[in-house]
């Protein structure tokens, strides 16, 4: 059937089952929005306050639902405003398709109004970029983009369409999603990728058997649960595997939710702000099996001495991660779920009581001094006590983020939404909006700091307009706490440019946006505010709770970058 490029694009989204798009219109993408007008009953468009918010929302939607997120923006500044969001999704392997339109073909390369080479800009932060200059390439490219975003190691893809293409007419035939892999350019891509063409190939049996033997020989095994377990939704297989080999399990930041925080084998986070138990176990184990983790510099702080007494085994979907940051002794390439399933079939049940006794003699959680105002632990345990168990938690970046992962116990993949790799302050509110759109029945909370919140609090208006009752907890120490922590510990307490004793009043800001606002400084006040927030959420009203905390509070323990994992700078 002949139709305009704009209509083809939207039909392609429907083929993929897309019902929610986050975005911001502008001159070059007007044709698409004009067509979207006719698709309002099928595709819900969420207009954010800023393109960055839309990018994080699409990302949060993808992370929490496991589906591909979609985000629209116009050319030039619109597309550029996406870039922080794209890089955030790329670093954390989140499947999002970003679609922008560019100036008309005749103006490309002329430095036209709002023209920018966005495919060039985003090349290093996407799995693939497409610049579409011909309406006949559009459907194929969009199908390819979605397939790429969600398959293998997921990640963002950028599609830039020149404005003429959205107006030009082309042929489009509906093709069910299952048939995409066998038609058009995608088919040739599949053929090229031979073994993995239509299904993920079996992980190498020899590699599996070797690991089974290594496990049999090990007396002190340890597991790391990385983001791959979360993305691959392999949490059940992982728990079974941990039970079988009876090994302590540390999580990375991205692995939060891959294994339940309340699991008796869980030792908490590993690395720079890892628990004593995790870091000591890493140093003492004789076999370290890392699943879906890339040994980032926040985990393997000093690669040469990381797990120095252990054979390191790396299970990952991406061959390029093997031996990238840490030299490993063995690896298995494959989807976490599939590899763990195969292992579970072959690995008998082991018991390592002495080793566990040793590991769990160290604390898995940090004890904080409760004498100051409210301690982070008091706030977080109050929040988790009063909110439903399956509450989705999004965070920003900084001290509050580390506290949240230390004291919240995440039970399932997609429950924790946090910018791990890129460390994007301002990620949380957008991500929470996306998560609420994707999970309307769940409570969504947003834990942030005053610094991070100030970055993208403009999205409060989006939250209010679409009646997305998110509860924001601002851990307000009137400081850029994490940077200040470094100044205190590493820069001889020369506190500089980290004191943010300034507006706005977050509770008044909430009220100005039509939300509830509270300022609390005791646990009792906090409890009351949470009750009020949960009640308001029933009516679709969001809440901001500004929590007063002590400015000198540190994230503990801490190991400095580049230092051995048990060289704690503070305990």
């Amino acid at each position: 059937m002949e139709m305009t490029g704009a209509k083809i694009l939207l039909e392609c989204l429907l083929e993929q089952g897309v019902d929610t798009v986050f975005g911001y219109p502008g001159g070059t993408i007007l044709n698409v929005y004009d067509e979207l007008y006719h698709y309002q009953d099928k595709i819900t468009h969420i207009l954010t306050a800023h393109e960055q918010g839309a990018a994080h929302a699409a990302d949060g939607y993808a992370r929490s639902t496991g589906k591909v997120g979609v985000c629209f923006a116009t050319s030039g500044p619109g597309a550029c405003n996406l870039t922080t969001g794209i890089a955030t999704a790329y670093m954390d392997s989140s499947p999002v398709v970003f679609i922008s339109c560019n100036v008309p073909q005749a103006l490309i390369g002329k430095d036209a109004f709002q023209e920018v080479d966005i495919t060039g800009i985003t090349m290093p932060i996407t799995k693939c970029t497409y610049l579409i200059r011909d309406v006949n390439d559009l459907a194929d490219s969009v199908r390819e983009a979605f397939a790429l975003a969600r398959s293998g190691r997921p990640g963002p893809v950028m599609i830039d369409i020149v404005k003429d293409v959205t107006a030009a007419k082309g042929e489009f035939e509906y093709l069910p999603k299952e048939k995409h892999a066998t038609s058009g350019r995608l088919a040739s891509l599949m053929e090229r990728a031979r073994t993995s063409a239509l299904k993920m190939p079996e992980p190498d049996q020899g590699d599996i058997n070797k690991l089974v033997e290594m496990i049999a020989e090990s007396q002190k095994p340890m597991l790391i649960c990385g983001g791959g377990v979360v993305r691959g939704r392999a949490h059940e297989e992982f728990r079974e595997f941990a039970r079988r080999i009876d090994a302590p399990v540390a999580i990375t930041l991205m692995g939060g939710g891959g294994v339940s925080g309340t699991d008796p084998l869980a030792t908490g986070m590993i690395g720079m702000h890892g628990s004593k138990a995790s870091n000591m176990a890493c140093d003492g184990c004789d076999l370290l099996i890392a699943v879906g983790c890339r040994f980032s510099d926040r985990v393997a702080l000093k690669p040469d001495t990381f797990a120095r007494n252990a054979k390191i085994v790396h299970i990952d979907i991406d061959r390029a991660e093997i031996n990238k940051n840490v030299q490993t002794d063995h690896h298995i390439i494959g989807d976490a779920k599939q590899v763990l399933e195969l292992l579970n079939r072959k690995v008998p049940k082991y018991e390592h009581p002495e080793w566990k006794k040793y590991v769990f003699s160290f604390p898995t959680e940090t004890q904080y001094d409760d004498s100051h105002v409210m301690s982070p632990k008091q706030i977080l345990s109050t929040v988790s006590r009063l909110c439903p168990e399956d509450t989705i938690v999004s965070t920003d970046v900084g001290q509050h983020q580390m506290w949240a992962i230390q004291h919240f116990h995440f039970d399932y993949p997609g429950q924790l939404l946090t910018s791990g790799g890129f460390g994007t302050m301002g990620f949380g509110l957008g991500a929470a909006i996306g998560a609420k759109m994707g999970n309307p029945d769940k409570t969504v909370i947003h834990i942030t700091g005053d610094g991070s919140f100030r970055m993208n609090c403009n999205e409060l208006s989006t939250e209010e307009f679409y009646k997305l009752p998110i509860i924001t907890f601002v851990m307000n120490n009137r400081r850029l706490g994490m940077v200040r922590q470094w100044q205190e510990l590493v820069y001889d307490k020369r506190f500089f440019q980290t004191t943010t004793e300034r507006g706005p009043s977050f509770s008044k800001l909430a009220e100005a946006n039509g939300l509830q606002g509270f300022r609390v400084s005791t646990v009792e006040e906090l409890e009351e505010a949470i009750q009020a927030a949960l009640a308001a959420a029933e009516n679709g009203q969001g809440t901001v709770i500004d929590c007063d905390i002590y400015e000198g509070e540190l994230v503990r323990p801490m190991v400095n970058g580049g230092k051995h994992i048990t060289e704690f700078l503070v305990n």
Binding site: G120, C128, L131, G152, L186, T195, M200, D318, R319
Partner: protein, 183 residues
């Protein structure tokens, strides 16, 4: 770093705009200095073959191959072992040759190295030489005495010796496809 030496990579890629920039960016963003890069279309007009030479140790070489394999426009990547491959480069030298005596000498040098005179003017000769660095360096040293006006290299191209091709299936190759982005 240990074991840093010149590595020759052969890469088949989609013959499309933007692919060269995508590949070369990979090297710059991972901090590898490309010594030589040559691209040209293959027997299949939709596919180009790149020969990339880079100074790297074993581990970095593996990382580069893995990263290249992950890219969508890349069909296959192979590290060519020096003992099992042939490498050639075409170099053009424009040499100052003011009198017939100089011209004769330069022609002789070209002949000895199986080069060809491809252009002549009153004051210069242009010579083409095909070979590896050893040969081209030797020619260059000899021609330097006459004065090299300008020169240009195509960049090294290479193929494996014998019946083997870039498309063989190996375990490592199978592994690459897992991480590859296709369903």
């Amino acid at each position: 770093m240990d074991n840093v030496k010149l590595r020759t990579l052969s890469v088949l890629v989609d013959n499309e705009s933007g692919v060269l920039s995508q590949i070369s960016r990979l090297f710059s963003r991972k901090g590898f200095n490309v010594e030589s890069l040559a691209v040209g279309v293959t027997e299949d007009p939709a596919v180009s073959r790149m020969t990339i030479e880079v100074m790297a140790n074993d581990n970095h070489t593996n990382l580069i191959c893995n990263q290249l394999n992950k890219m969508v426009p890349v069909h296959s990547v192979k590290l060519l072992e020096p003992s099992h491959s042939i490498r050639r480069e075409l170099v053009l030298y424009k040499v100052r040759a003011k009198n017939s005596e100089d011209k004769n000498q330069i022609i002789q040098i070209a002949n000895i190295f199986r080069g060809a005179i491809i252009d002549v003017s009153k004051e210069t000769l242009t010579i083409s030489i095909i070979g590896e660095e050893k040969k081209t360096d030797a020619v260059q040293e000899l021609l330097a005495d006459f004065g090299i006006v300008e020169m240009v290299r195509t960049g090294m191209i290479a193929l494996e010796r014998g019946k083997y091709t870039i498309d063989e299936d190996t375990k490592v190759k199978g592994e690459f496809n897992y991480g590859k982005n296709v369903l």
